[in-house]
Symmetry: C2
Subunit: 386 residues, 2 copies
DNA sequence: ATTGATTGCGATAACGTTTGCGATAGATAT
DNA sequence: ATATCTATCGCAAACGTTATCGCAATCAAT
């Protein structure tokens, strides 16, 4: 025998039960042909409960000040439409109530988050972290936050990161690809979505977007020529995986050899994955050659340092018997003995240039596609100083 | 002579001009006592224009599918209320229309961004970047993004970063304080705001929040005792600025001396700001002492390496004349000759432990305040191996 | 009295989601 | 038949802002 009151006609006579919905009794008023369930307090309770522990919003200030939300918003944004008195009153009120604007809501309506994303293979090696440092610095100066994702040199993770970042959380993206990234479909997908993307350091030649890179070919040329001038003729070249864009360094190496009339020996050129074992294996193979090599040019400072230590452990004198060069100018090259000759690619500047390019695009909406090369410089140290 | 039509009564007879508002003519209908301006297309045009180049939203899918927005939302979220057929239809439609959910809107309603913030003094030194690596790794595993701010060892920047991050953009914060941070008011302000905060590495003792730190005192004790056992009696201790929490290392040093009955000499304990000049000055002062010191314990590996190079340049034999110890186990300590004895503080593990603590708080809402110490280990190398 | 201009503020519609609840139609039980 | 359930789906209210426009009141100039 239902004893519910119809919310419409307020009668209790002609009410019938009409099933149970989500656990609650449902009624039907024959008079006004209206279905209803009993009054629910849940939602009210929920909103009331929230009121207590949540941050103060514009609404709260508006209530406290006795004005509308729009007035509060404009007052805090120094809009001239609001009189100076109310403006000041609202601002002091906001301060005492410890108001902090909700950036999510702002971003949602402004369609901009003041955040840029960075996808980088690794942030623990000084080489990359110094780029990151440059990026973070410039971005912060312009009031932009930076969210960082490591791809760990995994293409799959890179793709996933890209997906995750592009969903409205960032105004622009900086990406430095994986060693194994040969397919750029994931980037192509995103390019026409409207948000600016800049590639840095490891870039793809055939994608028409802004990019910042180092003068690898020239650097490798300078290193190789330096070795040649120091008297080396059989120069082992240690490269990364073949896919890598920075393998342009190979060209510099070849050019230098050609220019100085030195024959090219394929056995002197080795691709490794930068793991310690692979590096040592390559060096061992070179050492067994006849005649022996007289120089090693490693595309990575880290490997070069490993090589120096390995050669020393085998009582091979550097640079007298074998000269060693690196590439990148990491700090360890300065510490190792003999100190490492290398090429300073100015990682920090690369990072800085990349953000600047990106911020230009974001702020000024310039769609001109710039490709920027950062010039490095040869640093001669003991490991080649015969 | 106005010829406008009243939007209410549709008459054109009794319309009067009534000023110009924001550049547009305003009218007044005497019949219905109604003020109005002419029809404005601006807003409509704006929304229409947006339709073209913007991303697809739930609304677009709903229109295309001929269902309501809520149905689309529920379908994509696998809500059982939606029939399998519509669910599948909507999902394929979403795929072909290349739908990507707007994370901002989601975060706004869900009150969670799946993003954690990190404030760190510097991300370019391996010491900190390896913590960061650990943080990023674990966070990514749990589906959390990481936004990073460098404080550059500036307290002011740290405070600003904190402000910027806490405005609803992050679900939790990881903070490693500046060398100069002695005042923690900025943190206190935020602590009761509801979002979890975890301190790591450089922590404050008197703030009752979760923290992860290294066993500095024990580490310093181990290092000092190791030096003593190797025969050193006059051990110079190079500390950071006095405010720094990691100066607990001083206690370890003192304990070891006390335990082994070695008198404490204040001149042997120096505070520096980690700059090269300050370090060299401290070392010089020690070298001039009578009798000479026989060991140096630097609180930072970086300084220790600098000291080794400086001593070598002065023809001082390490460890025979002076032993040198660092703290932190950075990579350079392995490269320098002689290789550096140091204490491995397991930076990566500190980072990992810190995120885990934070994620526990965020996800499980456990309010238990945990303080976690990460144990390090002594690494004996050539620089103390007499 | 008519018209023009300005100042200060409120209402309201976005922004793109999620979600509680209502509301049908058909199925099932009584 | 009547009463109840169930399976699907829509409505509308949030979330916290910003921005457009409306509107009253006031002042000034015809």
């Amino acid at each position: 025998m239902p004893r519910a009151k119809c919310p419409k006609c307020q009668k209790i006579e002609r009410i019938l039960k009409s099933g149970i919905i989500r656990g609650k009794q449902r009624f039907y008023c024959k008079d006004c042909n209206y279905h209803f369930t009993l009054v629910h307090e849940s939602r009210k309770q929920k909103t009331e409960a929230r009121k207590n522990n949540d941050k103060t919003s514009l609404k709260d200030i508006a209530n406290a000040a006795g004005v509308s939300i729009s007035t509060v918003s404009r007052a805090l944004n120094e809009h001239p439409d609001i009189s100076i008195e109310t403006r000041m009153a609202i601002k002091t009120l906001a301060k005492t109530m410890d108001y902090q604007p909700n950036l999510l809501a702002q971003s949602l309506v402004n369609r901009s988050t003041h955040t840029i994303g960075v996808i980088i293979p690794n942030l623990e090696t000084t080489f990359f972290s110094s780029m990151l440092g440059g990026i973070q610095h410039i971005a912060a100066q312009s009031g932009y936050r930076v969210v960082i994702c490591q791809s760990d040199e995994s293409h799959t993770i890179e793709v996933a990161n890209l997906q995750a970042l592009m969903n409205n959380m960032i105004d622009g993206l900086l990406i430095c690809h994986t060693l194994n990234t040969t397919n750029f479909d994931h980037l192509k997908m995103q390019i026409n979505r409207g948000i600016p993307i800049v590639q840095f350091y490891r870039v793809s030649d055939n994608l028409d977007i802004p990019k910042v890179y180092s003068d690898d070919e020239s650097g490798a040329f300078q290193i190789t020529e330096h070795l040649i001038k120091k008297g080396s003729k059989k120069i082992g070249l240690l490269l990364g995986p073949k896919a890598l864009s920075i393998n342009k360094r190979l060209n510099g190496y070849l050019k230098a050899l050609n220019l100085h009339g030195i024959e090219i020996d394929d056995k002197l050129i080795k691709h490794v994955d930068f793991s310690y074992n692979a590096v040592i294996k390559a060096v061992d193979e070179w050492l067994e050659m006849e005649p022996a090599i007289d120089a090693i040019f490693s595309i990575s400072d880290k490997c070069a340092v490993q090589i120096i230590r390995y050669l020393k452990s085998k009582k091979i004198i550097i640079p007298n018997m074998i000269s060693v060069c690196g590439f990148g100018n990491e700090y360890t090259g300065e510490i190792v003995e003999p100190q490492l000759t290398t090429f300073d690619v100015k990682t920090r500047e690369i990072g800085e240039a990349a953000v600047k390019l990106l911020l230009d695009q974001i702020i000024q909406k310039t769609s001109k596609i710039k490709k920027q090369m950062i010039k490095g410089s040869l640093i001669v140290r003991e490991s080649t100083d015969k």
